[in-house]
């Protein structure tokens, strides 16, 4: 009990606390005002309902967020995640149906094996990530510009693969990646949970997380300690590339088609926003849990808007209002202001002198 309380008080948990509160508020709103939002039924042995949708639709963004969190903590940013996602999906679709873009509608014989359809795109994503990492870590180019290069060119590459067509396909084994179910949950959700756990293990159960934070927060000091900042950064961008690649496979498999132009468009914004809402600092402490909650907040908001049928032209205004509230809740000053108001209202104008509120040991 005591240690549990201690944990609740620790800085890390404090950081995640408020995003969790925000998420709960959004869900609570739906609980009361959106009928059926919390209904989960079982169809063909799968869970089915809005809450599952949030997880399922949020899965690709969660993947991106995962990579982005680490990159962001190391003092960088990766704008190219959306493009890598598109490349990976495009390549997978191309491998499954190579002639489609040039008008040949047949599938290759024998059909492309799932291993190839998954492995090659992921390999290419690793290469893309390595390219980013190389520019940032070894050529010392500012991360935003270094990854902008691939953000622009990457979409071109993806379109080059699909010739600008939306390559659609049917491939049962591959469709499982983005559309299958495992333990009643959509497979992307399961995959994401596995990846989160893996990342958590790799960063928090080894020294890696600490190294990332050190390299991000004080590169000079880290160099003096012999931390291999370049190699660590390279690895992070590769990891981010890999996560984007996986997300690309999920999306492509889920819609059974590769849309080189639109897949993952503007998703880097969502990913970065999730990371920041989650309390990760650019060059410093990161919280995986916070980032996950951040993405869930954004996805819940989207699902809520769609489910409630808010007119598309006002959607953005709603989004703006909710996000600013979510962000404000996290601000200590804002909460003080709020509780200050409440308190003044209660004590009828009599302000409590600051020193009266003493720390209780």
């Amino acid at each position: 009990m005591k240690s549990w309380l201690m944990r609740l008080k620790s800085e890390q948990t404090q950081k995640v606390l408020w995003p969790v509160v925000a998420l709960c508020l959004i869900l609570l709103f739906n609980f009361f005002f959106t009928p059926g939002f919390f209904r989960i039924t079982i169809k063909d042995g799968h869970l089915f309902g809005s809450l599952v949708d949030i997880l399922n639709r949020g899965a690709p963004t969660l993947m991106l967020t995962l990579g982005m969190t680490l990159v962001y903590a190391s003092g960088g940013v990766d704008l190219s995640v959306g493009s890598i996602l598109a490349i990976s999906g495009a390549l997978a679709a191309y491998l499954i149906r190579p002639g489609y873009a040039s008008g040949i509608l047949e599938y290759p014989d024998p059909p492309t094996s799932i291993i190839i359809a998954v492995a090659l795109p992921l390999l290419l994503s690793l290469v893309a990530g390595a390219w980013n990492g190389f520019l940032v870590a070894y050529l010392d180019i500012q991360p935003i510009i270094a990854t902008l290069i691939l953000m622009v060119a990457g979409r071109g590459i993806a379109q080059l693969i699909t010739k600008g067509q939306i390559v659609i396909f049917i491939h049962k084994p591959f469709e499982f990646v983005g559309g299958g179910f495992l333990f009643g949950l959509p497979f992307p959700v399961v995959l994401t949970i596995i990846m989160i756990a893996l990342t958590f293990f790799l960063t928090r159960k080894t020294a890696l997380g600490m190294f990332i934070e050190a390299v991000g927060a004080n590169p000079t000091a880290s160099r003096f300690m012999g931390l291999k900042a370049q190699r660590i950064k390279l690895m992070l961008y590769i990891f981010s590339g890999f996560c984007s690649g996986l997300a690309g496979l999920m999306i492509c498999s889920n819609i059974r088609g590769a849309d080189a132009n639109n897949a993952g468009l503007f998703l880097e914004l969502d990913a970065i926003a999730s990371v920041i809402i989650g309390g990760t600092i650019n060059g410093g402490r990161f919280t995986l849990a916070g980032s996950v909650v951040g993405t869930l907040i954004i996805q819940s908001l989207t699902t809520t808007i769609l489910t409630r049928g808010i007119a598309p032209e006002v959607t953005l205004v709603y989004k703006a209002i909710v996000i600013i509230l979510v962000v404000l809740i996290q601000s200590e000053n804002f909460r003080k202001l709020l509780t200050g108001y409440i308190r003044t209202a209660k004590t009828n104008g009599a302000t409590v002198p600051a020193h009266a509120v003493k720390e209780v040991k």
Binding site: L135, Q142, I145, V152, A153, G156, E313, V317, I323, I324
Partner: protein
């Protein structure tokens, strides 16, 4: 202004060198590339980007970022077009109103960022959503401004340079003036220097007794006001308002600023560099239009390659020349 030929000018000189280099290569490769018109077009076509980039330079030097710029340009455009065409308000009043709204948005964002210590990325992301959303509220489709003599004259006045070629007031000249003011503010005013101090080390700036909060609020107010001005420039450039205009503009602007040598981590950068950054991005596009045979995807890939080559050259020139400068 005295040109200080020291270490700190090297990145700018390198950037300038690369600009000239690309321009020469283009002139050799393509007919009509080497002409006054192409240069003037660079100024005209990128005027609205440049005006924002000046404001964004201050934001980035202070260690912040502003994502709301593209939406604000669109909003200003729609507002101007709607008030002028539908409600027949005099353009001058509309422009004043647009600038005031821009300033108000920046002021609000600055206050949120400062008083509640919120991350600029999120606050301005909200600004981006909000202004885009409000543009949709004003109009879902694009609105043309037709037959408004005042606005038309604004677009046609300019300094004649050659036959059928002038430096128009509404775009290029506004751009150059804003750059000049930006240079002045950044080098010669306390506000300008405080911006550098905040970006260099905010904690130290506070302890040195600099007005950090006020400066931050002013930075965002300035940037959004310039953005609204850019919106007006854009409106003059197209004589219309379109709620979907300038999607993703923020990235172009940020890229221009960063290519100009400003550090995204704050504390270092020059408006002169930003001017070059804007022109270089414009030049890359001009290059591609003159090339004229690329498919849509190759266009993107080639932009990426040119960007890469350019940055590589810039880094290389900066490194070698600062090495030799140190040796000397």
């Amino acid at each position: 202004m005295k040109l200080r030929l020291n270490q700190r000018n090297i990145p700018i000189l390198a950037t300038f060198a690369v600009f000239v280099l690309i321009y020469i290569v283009g002139s050799i490769m393509y007919r009509n590339f080497f002409s006054l018109r192409v240069l003037v077009n660079l100024l005209i076509d990128n005027a609205f980007v440049g005006v924002i980039a000046v404001g964004m330079t201050f934001v980035i030097i202070s260690g912040g970022i502003d994502l709301s710029v593209g939406s604000l340009v669109a909003f200003t455009g729609v507002l101007t077009a709607k008030l002028v065409s539908v409600y027949h308000v005099h353009p001058l009043i509309v422009i004043a109103l647009a600038l005031a709204i821009g300033a108000a948005l920046g002021f609000t964002m600055g206050n949120l960022i400062h008083h509640f210590s919120l991350p600029p990325f999120l606050v301005t992301l909200v600004g981006m959503f909000l202004m885009r959303g409000l543009s949709f509220q004003l109009s879902l489709s694009s609105i043309a401004i037709q037959k408004n003599p005042f606005l038309f004259s604004l677009t046609s006045i300019g300094i004649p340079l050659a036959k059928r070629l002038k430096l128009p007031l509404g775009t290029a000249i506004v751009f150059l003036i804003v750059v000049a003011i930006g240079i002045y503010v950044s080098h010669f005013t306390k506000f300008g220097r405080n911006v550098y101090a905040i970006g260099g080390n905010e904690q130290s700036a506070i302890l040195m007794g600099l007005p950090v909060g006020k400066t931050k609020i002013m930075i965002y107010t300035l940037n959004s006001t310039l953005c609204a001005l850019a919106g007006v420039v854009y409106t003059l450039y197209t004589l219309s308002g379109y709620p979907l205009a300038c999607v993703g503009l923020e990235l172009d602007v940020i890229a221009a600023v960063v290519i100009g040598g400003t550090l995204l981590t704050g504390g270092a950068g020059y408006i002169e560099g930003t001017l070059l950054g804007v022109l270089i991005l414009g030049l890359i596009q001009t290059f591609i239009t003159f090339q004229g045979t690329l498919s849509s995807w190759w266009t993107k890939i080639v932009i990426g390659i040119l960007l890469f080559v350019f940055i590589l050259l810039q880094t290389y020139i900066t490194k070698t020349s600062s090495l030799s400068a140190r040796k000397a």
